[in-house]
């Protein structure tokens, strides 16, 4: 993207493209006038850039070969075709990609698939099904907690995990007394959900849905 070098081909790019050619001509893999660095050493081994990784998704073990650059979000959507999880900003700012990993909500766009070997991932598809909705999914429908719906899977995964954080006693910015547990309140929910942006502005209905589920739990 940098204007000064957008047309520059790096030595490593050439090595990657040339890996097959090198094999075909049985030429030496490293014929460079500069000291060999890691990229040079691994360019002849494309499998270093495409490792296998395995983790469970919604309770099912899945394994796949991924480009090291693949985010967990892209692995879910493009490799496993679980398109419930949405790509909004792809920079951890909007929360549309929120999933639960080992029970905790994270932005799946800001983590690499290869970093999740052995982990347990829950996406919106794993929370409930059209015939058997998760209480949070049902509450979002009841309270119209969306307009376009694009942020909704992230809002739902985030709010389910968020209520567990409140239950576990994790404090927030608006928790008045750090020495006691936070109470479930709208002020707490609003602060804790600030990582999920809704451009339609369905926030008040989202809060009603969350409050109803929280009340039912209490």
């Amino acid at each position: 993207m940098r204007s000064s070098d957008s047309f520059q081909v790096t030595r490593r790019d050439l090595m990657i493209v040339g890996a097959t050619a090198i094999a075909a001509h049985a030429a030496p893999a490293v014929a460079l006038d500069q000291p060999a660095d890691l990229a040079d050493l691994t360019a002849a081994r494309p499998e270093s850039f495409f490792p296998m990784v395995g983790f469970s998704v919604n309770g099912e073990p899945r394994s796949m070969k991924v480009d090291t650059r693949t985010t967990l979000l892209d692995a879910l959507r493009e490799h496993l075709h679980l398109t419930g999880t949405k790509k909004g900003c792809d920079h951890g700012q909007c929360g549309a990609c929120t999933v639960m990993v080992n029970g905790r909500r994270i932005n799946s766009c800001l983590t690499l698939a290869v970093m999740h070997e052995g982990d347990s991932v829950i996406t919106v598809e794993g929370l409930g099904s059209p015939a058997n909705l998760h209480p949070m999914q049902a509450a979002f429908i009841k309270h119209d907690g969306y307009q376009c719906g694009y942020c909704t899977p992230g809002q739902i995964c985030s709010s389910v995990a968020m209520l567990k954080e409140v239950e576990a006693g994790v404090p927030s910015l608006v928790t008045e007394d750090l020495t006691t547990s936070a109470t479930a309140s709208l002020a707490e929910f609003r602060e804790r959900m600030s990582g999920n942006i809704c451009r339609c502005g369905a926030y008040s209905n989202i809060m009603e849905a969350i409050a109803e589920v929280a009340e039912r739990k209490a």
Binding site: P51, T68, M115, P171, G195
Partner: protein
């Protein structure tokens, strides 16, 4: 994103050894690094995943302090009962930063190493001495409202974005590391972050390949501890001015500022003025300030924020 190879490190020493290779970088939470890699502002050729290292514990030290493993997540550190009781400033600072999702991933060491959010650093089409040494600074003479008023240089006026680091500075934390030759060292937080000078791309005292293993807090000094963050949006935004304050009954205490400088901004001679009030403290803190027309408001904002926080602290039992 540029292609890279990936390995999982088994011990801190092995990680630091592996990081000697050119183009190698550690990855822990990844919330800042991957963001920058997508923009190709960071372009490592090899990632060393340190998440498997057993550096995720919070332990009491022999002298009554607290050792926080490099991999302790922001959520867990903020929720730790000892931190909440003895270092509430640290809990409050952590909770003022980022979002719930990000705090679940972000680590203690990664937070210290956060890169600036200067808009010109983030725009690969603009010159930036931090991103491309020697290319110039687009911020100077550009849009500067969010940028540094003190501690900057002719080469860079970016701010350090961390809230946690401001609390760590006020609490006199120490950073423990292991170097690529296997030796260990301890860096006081005051010396950890560097001012830009004419090398703004060098942001910390870390050597190439050096891995942070822990942040250590000395025994709590008690007092009333407050973190107050002023920003354009009430939640999930970086600070215009933030303030970590520890104040004792006799009016003495400590103060560190965020959002105003390339590093957490604390001056021990300035905080000696705390009993005389906010104006006396900020006069010293900003004695060498070089604000622009757009960001000069931060100095008055810092003074008023400190004044308000001090008044609140005195009013409460």
């Amino acid at each position: 994103m540029r292609p890279f190879t990936y390995e999982r490190a088994s011990t801190p020493r092995a990680a630091a050894m592996a990081a000697r290779m050119s183009g190698a970088k550690f990855i822990a939470g990844g919330t800042n690094l991957l963001d920058l890699m997508k923009l190709e502002i960071e372009a490592p050729t090899h990632l060393i995943d340190v998440n498997g290292l057993a550096l995720d514990r919070i332990e009491a030290t022999e002298d009554g302090g607290l050792k926080i493993g490099a991999l302790v997540r922001n959520t867990d550190l903020a929720a730790d009962p000892t931190v909440r009781k003895d270092y509430p400033l640290l809990s409050r600072a952590l909770l003022a930063g980022a979002s719930g999702q990000l705090r679940n991933k972000a680590t203690t060491a990664g937070n210290l190493l956060q890169r600036t959010r200067c808009a010109y650093f983030y725009d690969p089409n603009m010159p930036c001495n931090k991103r491309q040494p020697g290319s110039g600074c687009s911020a100077i003479g550009g849009y500067t409202r969010s940028l540094a008023v003190v501690g900057g240089s002719e080469a860079c006026i970016a701010t350090h974005p961390s809230d946690m680091a401001v609390a760590m500075r006020a609490l006199d934390a120490k950073v423990e590391t292991v170097q690529s030759d296997g030796s260990e060292r301890v860096i006081p937080i005051a010396e950890f972050h560097r001012l830009p000078g004419d090398t703004p791309h060098i942001e910390t005292a870390l050597e190439p390949g050096e891995l942070i293993t822990a942040a250590v807090l000395p025994k709590s000094i008690g007092g009333k501890q407050v973190y107050h963050k002023v920003r354009d949006r009430w939640s999930y935004a970086f600070a215009l001015v933030s303030l970590g304050l520890i104040v004792h009954r006799d009016g003495t205490g400590r103060v560190a500022l965020g959002g105003v400088a390339p590093k957490p901004w604390r001056d021990e001679t300035a905080e000696a003025e705390l009993p005389r009030g906010a104006k006396a403290v900020t006069a010293k803190l900003f004695a060498r300030a070089k604000p622009t027309e757009e960001n000069a408001f931060k100095i008055q904002l810092a003074e008023r924020t400190l004044g308000a926080v001090l008044a609140d602290a005195r009013a409460e039992p």
